[in-house]
């Protein structure tokens, strides 16, 4: 049953300080809402428990993208449209730009935010594997101050994060050290737009003298959280890509993912596709990797 709007309190402070004081005053009572593309769906279905919502949609400090020589700092309320339109994100972080382009449709990209995608913590989220392979760090704020959290530690379990009730993600920082890597993002779903992925891959790799000097792989929809494939990376790293290595990588992928059967796919299909995607990436990387 749909929620009754008359039961809900809605606040829209005009500053970060205002938002953070509300979160600190009644910890766990107020739920931040940005573009609403996830929360309003839960709300309309009657599945949203929060009755107090605080809007963070129009806070200018959350909509900035700041570029320095070392990193790009993306405000948490930047939308997928903002990401797609940003020159440096498009050039240096193609995996994130690709994921943004196939999240929802244009209307949802105009409202859905990177911070919302992280906090919503769906293991199927399109952009989260990209954040894993780029080694993202989160700037998390509260009235107590700001802390920097490696994104890889942020998701604790299925839809559980280490965000405290009085905290808000302020920005996502991406180090600018992967522009020389071959990058490949793939989404396998009923269709790219709107549909949620059955499996998605974000992959970075770099060859030196024919050997894999570095490789970074992450997948969505194959575990309770967006998953970095560290075992597969270890199998591949420092070796020459050939039929044997691809076969070993496939085995490593299947052994470290934990896919399930659900309404979108089966564990068996997901495992087969996950192995195929990594194999395809390695073959492209070995072939000189021009496709992105």
């Amino acid at each position: 049953m749909r929620a009754n709007p008359a039961e809900c309190e809605f606040a829209a402070p005009d500053s970060m300080r205002g938002v953070l004081s509300l979160l600190a005053r009644d910890p766990g009572e107020w739920l931040p809402i940005a573009g609403g593309t996830d929360l309003m769906v839960q709300y309309s279905a009657g599945n949203l428990h929060a009755r107090k919502l605080v809007s963070i949609w129009n806070l200018p400090e959350l909509r900035r993208i700041d570029v320095s020589a070392e990193e790009v700092e993306i405000g948490a309320s930047c939308t997928y449209t903002d990401l797609r339109a940003h020159e440096v994100v498009n050039r240096d972080f193609t995996l994130l730009a690709s994921a943004a382009s196939w999240t929802g449709g244009i209307a949802n990209q105009n409202r859905g935010t990177i911070g919302g995608n992280i906090v919503n913590a769906s293991p199927a989220a399109d952009s989260l594997p990209a954040l894993l392979v780029y080694g993202a760090e989160l700037l998390v704020v509260s009235v107590r101050g700001e802390r920097r959290v490696p994104y890889r530690t942020f998701h604790i379990d299925y839809r559980k994060t280490q965000l405290e009730p009085d905290e808000l993600i302020r920005a996502v920082c991406l180090p600018r050290r992967f522009s020389g890597y071959y990058a490949q993002a793939r989404k396998v779903g009923a269709r790219n737009a709107q549909a949620i992925a059955k499996v998605c891959l974000a992959a970075l790799g770099r060859l030196e003298d024919g050997m894999v000097a570095d490789v970074r792989l992450a997948m969505g929809s194959v575990a309770p959280v967006p998953l970095r494939l560290t075992e597969t990376e270890q199998v591949v790293k420092g070796r020459r890509i050939g039929a044997t290595l691809v076969r070993l990588a496939r085995m490593a992928v299947v052994s470290e993912i934990r896919p399930i059967d659900d309404m979108r796919s089966t564990a068996r299909y997901r495992a087969a596709v996950a192995a195929n995607l990594v194999a395809e990436f390695l073959e492209q990387l070995a072939a000189g990797g021009t496709k992105t």
Binding site: A3, P5, A6, E7, C8, E9, F10, A11, A12, I33, G35, G36, T37, M40, V41, Y43, S44, A45, R51, L53, S55, W57, N58, T81, G104, G105, I106, A107, N108, N110, R111, R191, N192, A193, Q194
Partner: protein
């Protein structure tokens, strides 16, 4: 009655809708879609899925295409809104409305307002879109009659005739 069930007061929300300033009294978490349809009587904006999948409720909010079923009313306070009712002027159909008619782009009609708003948004950015750009621009809008070929053709035709005017 505990706190979570108490009826809260409505707030005033001021909008500019299709060029006219309007003030409505609504709860902050009412869906913008309901404010448009129920408070303002603008029933051209449709509800399909109610969860941002189908695009039937698409409108322009400060120039951006959005699904109005996913917008809390209070987030629209102070915003400029254009709905399907705002496209025709002086009794003349907007170009896209004309090409949808001519190309058979509307069948049962429920997706049509959202399709036209998405197409309007696309043409405002890309006046002469390629077929691929049309497919992407309309990818968030579902047509249950599956009249996509005619819909794409209607948008392409509007592009050939000069875009949004």
């Amino acid at each position: 009655m505990n706190e979570s069930q108490q009826e809260r007061e409505k707030c005033e929300i001021i909008l500019r809708v299709n060029g006219k300033f309007v003030a409505v009294h609504a709860h902050g978490m009412e869906r913008l879609l309901d404010v448009l349809r129920l408070d303002l009587g603008l029933t051209g904006t449709k509800e399909g899925c109610g969860e941002g999948e189908c695009g039937a409720c698409a409108i322009l909010l400060d120039g951006l295409l959005v699904n109005s079923c996913l917008i809390p009313a209070f987030q629209a306070n102070g915003a400029e809104i254009v709905t399907i009712e705002g496209l025709a002027a002086d009794g003349r159909l907007q170009l896209l409305q004309q090409t949808f008619l001519e190309c058979g782009g509307a069948q049962c009609g429920i997706c049509t307002p959202g399709m036209i708003m998405a197409a309007f948004h696309l043409l405002s950015k890309k006046p002469h879109p390629t077929r691929e750009e049309i497919r992407e621009g309309l990818s968030g809008n579902l047509c249950r009659c599956t009249g996509y070929a005619q819909i794409f053709e209607a948008v392409a035709e509007a592009g050939r005739r000069g875009g949004t005017t």
